[in-house]
Symmetry: D2
Subunit: 397 residues, 4 copies
Amino acid sequence: MAQTSPRKLRYAMVGGGRDAFIGQVHRAAMALDGRYELVAGALSSQPDKAIASGRDLGLAAARNHGSWQDLLAHELSLPAEQRVDLVSIVTPNHVHHEVARAFADAGLHVVCDKPLVHTSAQAGDLVRVVAQRGTVFGVTYNYTGYPMVRQAREMVRQGVIGEVRKVVVEYHQGWLAKRVEGGQNKQADWRTDPARSGIAGAMGDIGSHAENLIATVTGLEAERLCADLTAFVPGRQLDDDASLLLRFHGGARGVLLASQIAAGFENDLRLRVFGSEGSLDWRQEDPNQLVHAPLDAPRRVLTRGSPWLCESARRASRLPTGHPEAFLEAFANVYLGVAEDIHARLAGQPADPLAADYPRVEDGARGVRFIEATVASAASEQKWTAFEGLGDHRATD
Amino acid sequence: MAQTSPRKLRYAMVGGGRDAFIGQVHRAAMALDGRYELVAGALSSQPDKAIASGRDLGLAAARNHGSWQDLLAHELSLPAEQRVDLVSIVTPNHVHHEVARAFADAGLHVVCDKPLVHTSAQAGDLVRVVAQRGTVFGVTYNYTGYPMVRQAREMVRQGVIGEVRKVVVEYHQGWLAKRVEGGQNKQADWRTDPARSGIAGAMGDIGSHAENLIATVTGLEAERLCADLTAFVPGRQLDDDASLLLRFHGGARGVLLASQIAAGFENDLRLRVFGSEGSLDWRQEDPNQLVHAPLDAPRRVLTRGSPWLCESARRASRLPTGHPEAFLEAFANVYLGVAEDIHARLAGQPADPLAADYPRVEDGARGVRFIEATVASAASEQKWTAFEGLGDHRATD
Amino acid sequence: MAQTSPRKLRYAMVGGGRDAFIGQVHRAAMALDGRYELVAGALSSQPDKAIASGRDLGLAAARNHGSWQDLLAHELSLPAEQRVDLVSIVTPNHVHHEVARAFADAGLHVVCDKPLVHTSAQAGDLVRVVAQRGTVFGVTYNYTGYPMVRQAREMVRQGVIGEVRKVVVEYHQGWLAKRVEGGQNKQADWRTDPARSGIAGAMGDIGSHAENLIATVTGLEAERLCADLTAFVPGRQLDDDASLLLRFHGGARGVLLASQIAAGFENDLRLRVFGSEGSLDWRQEDPNQLVHAPLDAPRRVLTRGSPWLCESARRASRLPTGHPEAFLEAFANVYLGVAEDIHARLAGQPADPLAADYPRVEDGARGVRFIEATVASAASEQKWTAFEGLGDHRATD
Amino acid sequence: MAQTSPRKLRYAMVGGGRDAFIGQVHRAAMALDGRYELVAGALSSQPDKAIASGRDLGLAAARNHGSWQDLLAHELSLPAEQRVDLVSIVTPNHVHHEVARAFADAGLHVVCDKPLVHTSAQAGDLVRVVAQRGTVFGVTYNYTGYPMVRQAREMVRQGVIGEVRKVVVEYHQGWLAKRVEGGQNKQADWRTDPARSGIAGAMGDIGSHAENLIATVTGLEAERLCADLTAFVPGRQLDDDASLLLRFHGGARGVLLASQIAAGFENDLRLRVFGSEGSLDWRQEDPNQLVHAPLDAPRRVLTRGSPWLCESARRASRLPTGHPEAFLEAFANVYLGVAEDIHARLAGQPADPLAADYPRVEDGARGVRFIEATVASAASEQKWTAFEGLGDHRATD
């Protein structure tokens, strides 16, 4: 946990009102290290609910708004030293673009949930706005916040497993194995609704995490992909199951599986990276360990908190070995990286890359393009669909 | 996470200043559900360090004290509506009794780390004071906060595994497998120092958790015990390894193993309960699952967050299945139970037992007597040493 | 283990001489239940080595041959009551067709290793010959001999997991992660040599096991497939890594991964079947358990030897629960099924299907066509390559 | 598997007739490596059943006897070159001593199941007879035949984990968790019957395996022990649960748990050895791996078949890594060691200690004394009961 105490960053939240599960997760993650305080909000698209939710959270009346437009207008009317430092956007996907663009364009830092937006046009637009304004823009690909994911990334970078040859990432959930939308399950409702989730279902929701995990850990960029998308549950409009073959620049191969009809599986995200000198194996449901199998030696089980881990993994860890950390801490690590970047800017200094370690708008944009390419591939008779992951990304370098 | 928002409880902390690991854990656990705010403190026994630590945490100067005596005096000078609701005591063990007694005697609620105090005389004294004042007194046997521990407790209570016959609890750590005291490891210093840790080492530190876990889950009270305590590392004055045989009232048997020289083990607390109709198996390092083996049917793997868990386990859970929770959330659950109890008292209502679910001063006292009986047994030629776990406890019922 | 003792079946072995690992496995598997005795052989393609190997194994000189042609001729010269009942063919793949065809055509029963032959033309030819002669022809897809695989098959058949939606089978090995051919590793030499292994490497060797496991457990037939085959190790002519998307008749989907460059993985064959009512999960390296996750209830861990398993699984088991069985017993179960079928024929009775449970020539033929379709797909720009798994198979029904 | 082919050893079996599970295991284990052939027997104490069982197994009428006395007399009447090399005794325990003594005294080699005999007087007698005759006498402590147990033994010997400080061995079974004796379960009948099983139940049956595993792997000899024995199931005369504290010569400590009322556990024998430089962890139900945790480095998972294992582990292995071996192969390794010793004697050469690796009569005798000391301790008010494990053993060195 943080030893020093720079001032708390003031944040506003858009979405995340009463009954919104993920808003609570974001707030808990932001609270964990004492680096943020919630001071303003537009917590629902329904004004009454927004206000009531803000009251629950103790927002001052003047900063508790019925719409994000009001929130933004009011913040801009405040002197800079009172204004929020950033906004956290935790609405359903279809609202992301409009809100994120407006706040970024106004020069505020933004954290936005994934998948970033619905279309690559929106994504490109957002990347440009953020580049123009020079603001911080984090995307909560929260699984990259796990210390052992960062350890894996570092081991790949250091060449510990040699040249990466194949990546297998799978993300198995079972919560949509039967028809739960149209009932009490609000999350199921919007996740399976094209109007709110966009062109992809399982692929957009969890497939995008899988894509990001590959990119984060291996640094590989897909060059071509071949996808099979299926909606198994009758009446469902979006895919609830996705299987992809991947070919990366440089010759590596990949497989990405994302399913929400994997009955009995909960949130089983697993990454395996096979290199010429060894392999790595990590599972989100057992996140405190990373298995490293060297080519010609016994498997080694690396555990979070151990002194022999890399600096990046150690910084992302709060508790000693054997005292497990989990989902919330990983989520908090994304926000910690954002806080470090914002504080560096407030101090007029370059951010320490090891500290300002979080997924950015370009990662989110690449994820959107990946979803589009997947959907295009699924509709194609051709085996391979090209993927231009670096288009806009490169533009911002 | 809590949907409603009673006012935050104001707390002071004694101990837990700069570099004190466990103080940070307590603060993070208290922050997690937004039920507490830190408003005062005496964060170290060294006045300078205490003040500096309080500044780090943003304490107002008037409530940032160099000693717990000053803290207490100042709080008592405040009007009741400004005074702290409770104090959290996270000092080394030898300071617990004096501080806890003073605050409880002043009518303040207290949370104190375990083991509660050094002697059963101190423990009995504390139980009496708390009973007289009618205050809340929680002890942070944090492992009982895990949802799947609560599930196990409920299954035992419901008779799912029949009559409990044998309990095996083991707690294996390896961090004291070599001589680390006398160097940079402050924690090792005081844990191995009789002046600060009392009469037991591993038995006091982790053995007390193991004892509490048995009592919490099974409700069994030991009647007799037989202990072998060893200090393996040369020069160490307190045990670093403990093995106990237990006989419970009613005929059940038990084995308790607590070792800090188990090289390569991190924090491997495991509980197995064998009943006439099945068994339960839980491991702290894999805390989101509980294995239930019915007598004549396949093993079942129960996972945190599942709808078929008991009310108590569900209330102790914040995230869906597969999104792992861990140490911090379990710790927070102890504080959540304390908050529920204090808020009930503030509201003049009886506490909901499912909500006000936390280890109490009597649990802490029984733990102290257990440590004493263990040390006595280790010095005895007789196989069995009687254990009077309920002495003071019964007095308070 | 078998309680009754029909006479031992006399067998000859072709291949499997000195230093041939797999020949020893076959002999040990045949010996396990006391149903077979080795009486003749042509144990190597090198006459001297064949004779020496036969002497090692105690073969009588008259039945210890330097070539399989001599073996066949001599057996046919014997009176029927002395002649071998069957021949076990454990040569490298390229010899399978010629030998198997000759013995089957002579009316002898045959067991042949997988993959069955090099081409679907050879396979079809073999299916026809066996059908004409009415002989027993087993193929040692040994992994289907595991009791818990048979349990999985029965649960699928009984509809325990509802309608099968998706099958994920993966087979990860790492022994070819570096260039080991061309050195001391004879197995690596022929496995990577097109002349001896045919058109596929990893896909032929372990991919064919994976294909068979899907077909055995689910009964699904692939309709189309999409394959990516890669040879990662420089200079290697055959694939050492295969990734396939599958579409089955009836709408189910599948993924098949077979890799021999998965550094650090040993023989990690895993099958997951996701149905509308639950899922099944089995791993070859932990073969005594099968995890069944019902849709809305806790996971159940089924273990070999338990009384609640199906008849087929119980018959395939020799030891009580907890006394692990493994590779050899599974292998023996294939031979046990063959023995049951031959003995039924010797008795002039129909075989008990539960007893005569083994992969047949049609399974081997389908496997060969599957390899061909995979290689064709890998070379195609089209996403989907049709698979006619049932061509010859149907003809024999 | 053995490459060379010395002549098969001729053996007789006493006990192990129809319906006798363990007799089948012994025969399968002896058959596995082709080193033995069954040529004579007295397969039951009931003459009719003995004869019928021998017919099932194909024994020649002249060597198929109704009593072990007849068997012995007939064998002694044969010329040495026809006589059996050894006898395998797989009767219930109470018959062991009489039979084993008679055959050993006649100069025949013997393999006998464990626990060896009922009393230490019988055990001492047997040790003396064997020493006088100079014969081979193996005891089927079969778990010591696992390759990874031999690897653990070698690592302890080599000092890889430093000085051994603590050993925890547990053996949990659940098959006697309810009253199954007095019904269809013949094994339960004699295991719970003092007349046939001797003075101990769980302790004699599985506790003796646990004791032997400690001694084999660590080489430590207990000096004192403290036992709690319980019969949980009403009406049961012998213990079904045992918990022991151990003190070894030299200062190491131990814990031994053996329970047959551990509902839901199958055959869960686990050994942990904690040393000053690391620890080892092995489980019988997952026997192909051994976890080695060095003091200050990540855990290593050693797997059977790996080239970096010790010679002793490699020799005990038949299949490559990932192709699991299990119970039967471990059992066979005990018989392989016996065969090596007998063949060495037949050749008039000293046995290679790495080859002639099997538990001997002295191990069996120590096990009997251990059971007696345990029962004595359970009845004692004194904490520690002395253990003279080496009494007779030393005499034979």
